[in-house]
Amino acid sequence: MDLEYTAEELAFRDEVRAFLREQLPATIAAKIKHNRRLTKDEHVLWQKRLHQRGWAAVHWPTEHGGTGWGPIERHIFDEECAAHHAPPMLPFGVSMVAPVIIKFGTEQQKQQYLPDILASNVWWCQGYSEPGAGSDLAGVKTRAVRDGDHYVVNGQKTWTTLGQHADMIFCLVRTDPNAKKQEGISFLLIDMNTPGITVRPLITLDGEHEVNEVFFDDVRVPVANLVGEENKGWTCAKYLLTYERTGIAGVGQTKSLLSHLKTVASEQIVNGRPLIEEPLFRARLADAEAELMALEMTNLRTVSAAADGGVPGAESSFLKIMGTVLRQEITDLFRRAAGPYAMPFLSEGDDAVGPEFAGAVANRYFNYRKLSIYGGSNEIQRNIIAKAILGL
């Protein structure tokens, strides 16, 4: 075993660093660092720069324009991006729907969708959850009824992240209401501009518009937009979820958060000395650091073990739980580092009150409660581990 980077890996890291220094706009990095929301244009701009460098799709096969990187390169890339406060990759196109299209789509679908995903010309969102189907995803009720060359879709999706910007949505729909739960579901790509679709904002507890409800009222979708076979959508859905969970550990982001927290704690003066010297706070920082080391090693072990560039199986559930718990803990420490200045609620554009970092800490703390809820809640991950790994 050798836990140090090789010369090639170090050279690759320098290459990534150089790219980030040259291409990442300072205004965008500053927003990410201070937990401010990016505009759609800023997201797209960054995706396009990555695309120009050939780095838009880190885990796609090279034949479709992917990087062909192994787990260590992906890890380095992820870590450097986070350290430079690059925007997180929006997963819906590149990491979610694209792998499904690559694996199950027709040649026509690959040609039609993949280049625009790679180039960030089309913004995708994920239409899985419904009011009655969250953890129990197979409970989806949104109906798609065949009518000639079209499906007619009726129903409602919810908690659709950034759906307000989306051009396309990939949905789980019920095509056979009489079949057993998992067996009557299909995977459908729907143009958000089709008549009959209404997007309504949902406001989260931090006052942000991040998620939406999407209503379908007699929406006509060409049969050509079905991915895989009719009623076999559950296979696509599960395949997508395994991809959703790659990079789930969030090691890069956690490192960057912790390092920012340490800086902040060194600059905050409490009772005449830096907060970082306050023993109780320092002990929690040190504890988080040890947890981060454990997370990083577990992540590397897991992704390296995944067969030839594939995705980890149920082991990714360990990463999801460990990674989210740690990020949530760090956002708790950020809030504590702000002291009473965690209290002001300021919207974008308001002048800061108190130290600059303090403005968004409570909002992020509350917003990050989502990490243990979405993408399969931490309870669901534990159920998966119990069943798939422990055989309970």
């Binding site: 507890l205 002291g339 209290m343 609620f345 243990s372």
Partner: protein
Amino acid sequence: MDFKLNDEQRMLEETVGRLVRDAYGFETREKNRNSALGFSTEMWQQLAELGLLGVPFSEELGGFNGGGQELMVVVEGFGRALLLEPYLATVVLSGTVIDRLGSDEQKAQLLGSIIGGEQRFALAAYEGQAFYDHTQVTTRAVANADGYLLNGSKAVVLHGDSADQLVVIARTSGDDGDAAGLTAFVVAADAAGVSRRGYPTVDGLRAAEISFDNVQLAAAARLGDEGAALPALEAAIERGIVALCAEACGAMEVACDQTLEYIKERQQFGVAIGRFQALQHRMVDMRMALEKARSMTILAACSLELPAAERQRRLAAAKLIIGKTGRLVSEEAIQLHGGMGMMDETAVSHYAKRLVMIDHQLGDQQYHLQRLSALLAVDDDVA
């Protein structure tokens, strides 16, 4: 020992319970929160009419002569409804400083106006660099021919944006962190040289950054002796801690109830999610947290008149436990609600926010853990 409320306390409890049930549903609260003032002046008048603004003050002044237990009973009811009105700022914090330090005349006038609901107050004590340490005061009041000249600034002053009067803690002598040298003044919020920047807080309340630029105060603006305000300030903070503990208990109780109701009703995988043992045990832990919080609140409420060392120990322990249990209940309430718990429209998310922010008022769990560590007593074994 006797843990029962007496008749008067029960009556207070019923009064508050009825009031918030009838006039303070979640929708009303949201309407008031989104108003320009951030709360309802009508509600404030109702509190005055019911005598609730006089709970801690003497009967001669028109108050109820209540102590920690009466305060607990009242504010716990407010916590259940997530009351937005400036009770803590006006009655508990400012009122206590005035009550402890004011002359008979000042008390009659100022506390009279609080009890009657005519004027609202805010306590401007903590400063930006001070975190939770109330002795780190750099705001200065310098005596001059007409009284005092006040300069400095105060941070995150709860309800400081809408208060008519401010109770300002300023240094008249000594250095940062000195116990002596702090003096309290009553300053009209619209006095020349006072500037306020108000803002909402994460939990839907209001606060302000306040600065004083050569504010000329009359000598009569001073409360009590020069340099001797600290004990009164600490009494206010201690009462404030009892109030925050009680408010947290009320809020935790509702957060637990709403979560329990939700997991009994929410169906996934063909059953109510409350059937999953993974959630049952979590719900049990939430309830246990509530019981612990309630025990410590009662302890704190009954300790306000004890000698300093024991009183401080108990109050620090209480606020520490409230900080810990408040976080647990908030996070679990959101988690067990799943996506619904993240929504602004779901009441439980607002309970969670208030509970977490209570930890940022009058010292967080870490601050009080540190205090408690410093006070840790090693008792000799009883032979």
